[in-house]
């Protein structure tokens, strides 16, 4: 069996990409494209929807269908695409600002509706594109260009948010775990209903620089050391778990998705109309 590279989905002549050395977005994009290839996705049946920010630049590298939207609204656009044409593979690729800060409302409602979409979220704990400002996922006490004395706010757990909002599939990975990341994206893409793959990602340029992890290897080391497979993480008590985070599959459900339920209601309406 030949090894999937995903290169067939890359536009000619666009590499090297624009992301900073050490950034996780390129690794995520590679994992996503390999997952596309392994699933046999075609350009015509696939729509990649992006928002704004570092992650929002991703569509420019692809030859699939794409829609580059406004900040935080990728899931709203993706919802319209998928609701009207359920046959399409619709993937929304966002950052932490897009998905759960400015766009948090769309995130929880897309999960609640169980839209058959895959949300891939690069969480680099700050706003990279605009110079490293605080985001809804910056941990409390951490430093950013707008929390010079430490972040007084708490951070969102994106995976937990997706879980309580009703997502069918939730996984968290890091660029350090490239194969697992590709597998998680692949499983999320294959799952009916709302799936989320959160990618904890290094941002040495801003978040790392402001938080004593200026070197890429320091950020990767952090992601390597603190990521624990979910079953291992869940065995720890609160004190022992401090500073660690669970990776791997976190939610695994098979609830009917929006399109299936809409069709069911539609059939009832048609029958009632005839009768």
């Amino acid at each position: 069996m030949s090894h999937a590279t995903g290169i067939r989905y890359l536009k000619d002549g666009v590499l090297p990409h624009m992301w900073c050395p050490g950034c996780g977005i390129g690794i995520m994009m590679g994992a996503m494209l390999r997952a596309f290839e392994e699933l046999g996705y075609t350009n015509r049946d696939t729509v990649v929807v992006t928002g704004i920010g570092c992650t929002g630049k991703l569509d420019d590298y692809l030859v699939t269908n794409a829609l580059h939207t406004t900040h935080g609204r990728a899931l709203a656009y993706a919802t319209g695409i998928k609701a009207f044409n359920p046959k399409l593979n619709v993937v929304a690729v966002m950052g932490d600002g897009d998905s759960v800060t400015i766009g948090g409302n769309h995130f929880i409602h897309a999960a609640r509706r169980n839209m058959d979409l895959t949300a891939i979220v690069i969480n680099n704990f700050n706003y990279g594109m605009t110079g490293g400002q605080v985001s809804g996922t910056t941990p409390g006490g951490r430093f950013t260009s707008t929390t010079a004395w430490g972040n007084p706010e708490r951070d969102f757990d994106i995976c937990a948010l997706a879980q309580v909002a009703g997502a069918n599939y939730v996984a968290r990975e890091t660029p350090y775990r490239g194969w697992e990341l590709k597998e998680a994206i692949k499983e999320g893409l294959g799952r009916k209903g709302f799936s989320l793959v959160e990618v904890f990602s290094p941002c040495p340029t801003h978040f790392g620089k402001n938080n004593e992890m200026k070197e890429t290897r320091q950020m990767l080391h952090w992601l390597k050391e603190k990521a624990l497979p979910a079953e291992e993480y869940n065995r720890l008590d609160k004190e022992a778990a401090e500073g660690f985070f669970p990776v791997g599959k976190l939610v695994d459900r098979h609830e009917p998705d929006f399109n299936a339920r809409y069709e069911e209601i539609r059939q009832k309406a048609m029958a009632a109309k005839k009768g």
Partner: protein
């Protein structure tokens, strides 16, 4: 099929017009005085194989109808002032990405939450200039329930033909008015579908216009794979920040409407040809202006009405022609600042005798108030 007169509400007629035009996707968020449009769509969309969705807010509604349109749907939403404000950013993407869609703004009295159930015509400038960046679109304004129906069909046709968002802007009076409407049978009114690409899929450029100024638009999922972007983009839809490209791109968004200006700008006149007193009105104030003009005619004054059916692009030539002939021009509108009067003044010049009749307290303008302005 024989057409029959039906008693219906303006908002209902808008939904009726949307179905006539082939709308198959509605996403919206409830707001007075537009909600009847959503209710009607929620009942009927599933029966015609379409999709109705109530979104989490108007921002999402606007995004969803753009997404659905790019997947091939004739899509629309309906709202009122506060919701329309929330839609502006994504509406800008529809302009930039040249995505056909229709937005109904049933105008109510502001500012802010204002008089939530009362009429106004105070969104005229928000419709035109509510978005950042230099851009343009089409806005139509019905004065009767029959026009609610027919202009909705026109709105979808313009959206599809020119790849542009079209705003339908009734005021609350017209949205909630009940009148008899004859719904034409299928085929009686022209229904336009967006131009599809032909030729090799590999050479499809979603932003390269034909001679008519408009590029064909494929649908996601078909043979033609394409990119649409909110960022400045080249003919293929990929980011392009070159000044020359931006010059072409921004110009193109304006030019395609300028090229078809005469088709897009619709006006109606009532006794306007010899009018010495010309009322310029739109929406519900057209009706009061017409009553005032008829009363003046009885008194021997040559009075007439110019109804602006198309609000944007502005009917400058029509205003110049009829307004230039009249001794007195009276602009009647339900806002304080004279949003249309300002445009009329721009066209006719400050030397013209231009009077304003305004209301901004949620009350409609009555013929008597209009008559006062000319006495």
């Amino acid at each position: 099929m024989r057409s029959e007169a039906k008693l219906m509400q303006g908002n209902q007629a808008i939904a009726e017009g949307a179905f006539y035009a082939g709308a198959r996707f509605y996403a919206g968020y409830p707001i007075t005085p537009s909600s009847e449009i959503a209710e009607e769509c929620s009942k009927r969309m599933p029966l015609v194989g379409g999709v109705y969705m109530q979104m989490e807010d108007e921002i999402a509604s606007m995004g969803a109808i753009i997404g659905a349109s790019l997947a091939g749907a004739k899509s629309f939403t309906a709202t009122s002032g506060p919701g329309f404000s929330l839609m502006q950013e994504n509406l800008g993407l529809a302009v930039m990405g040249e995505v056909p869609c229709v937005v109904v703004d049933v105008q109510r009295a502001g500012p802010s939450t204002g008089l939530a159930t009362k009429p106004a015509q105070a969104d005229v400038m928000q419709i035109r200039w509510g978005r950042h960046g230099d851009q343009t679109l089409i806005a139509l304004c019905p004065a009767t329930v029959a026009e609610c129906f027919s202009l909705t069909v026109t709105a979808f046709n313009f959206a599809e033909k020119f790849r542009v968002p079209v705003i339908i802007a009734p005021d609350e009076v017209v949205g909630h008015l009940r009148e008899n409407v004859i719904i034409p049978g299928p085929g009686e009114l022209e229904v336009i579908e967006r131009k599809q690409p032909s030729g090799a899929p590999a050479s499809y450029k979603p932003f390269t216009a034909d001679a008519d100024g408009v590029a064909p638009l494929a649908a996601y999922g078909g043979d033609y794979v394409f990119h649409v972007s909110s960022s400045m983009h080249g003919p293929e839809g990929y980011s392009n920040n070159e000044p020359a490209n931006a010059t072409w791109r921004v110009g193109q968004l304006h030019r395609k409407l300028e090229m078809h200006r005469d088709e897009i700008v619709i006006t109606k006149t009532f006794d306007a040809d010899d009018a010495e007193v010309l009322f310029i009105a739109f929406g519900a104030t057209t009706r009061a202006s017409r009553a005032a003009a008829l009363e003046l005619r009885k008194q021997g004054v040559k009075a007439g009405v110019l109804q602006l059916v198309t609000l944007w692009p502005f009917a400058d030539r029509e205003v110049a022609k009829l307004g230039g002939r009249a001794k007195t021009v009276v602009v009647t509108e339900m806002n304080y600042s004279g949003q249309v009067a300002g445009e009329v003044r721009r066209v006719l010049g400050s030397g013209a005798d231009i009077r304003q009749v305004n209301s901004y307290n949620g009350q409609i303008i009555r013929p008597r108030a209009i008559l006062k302005a000319v006495q």
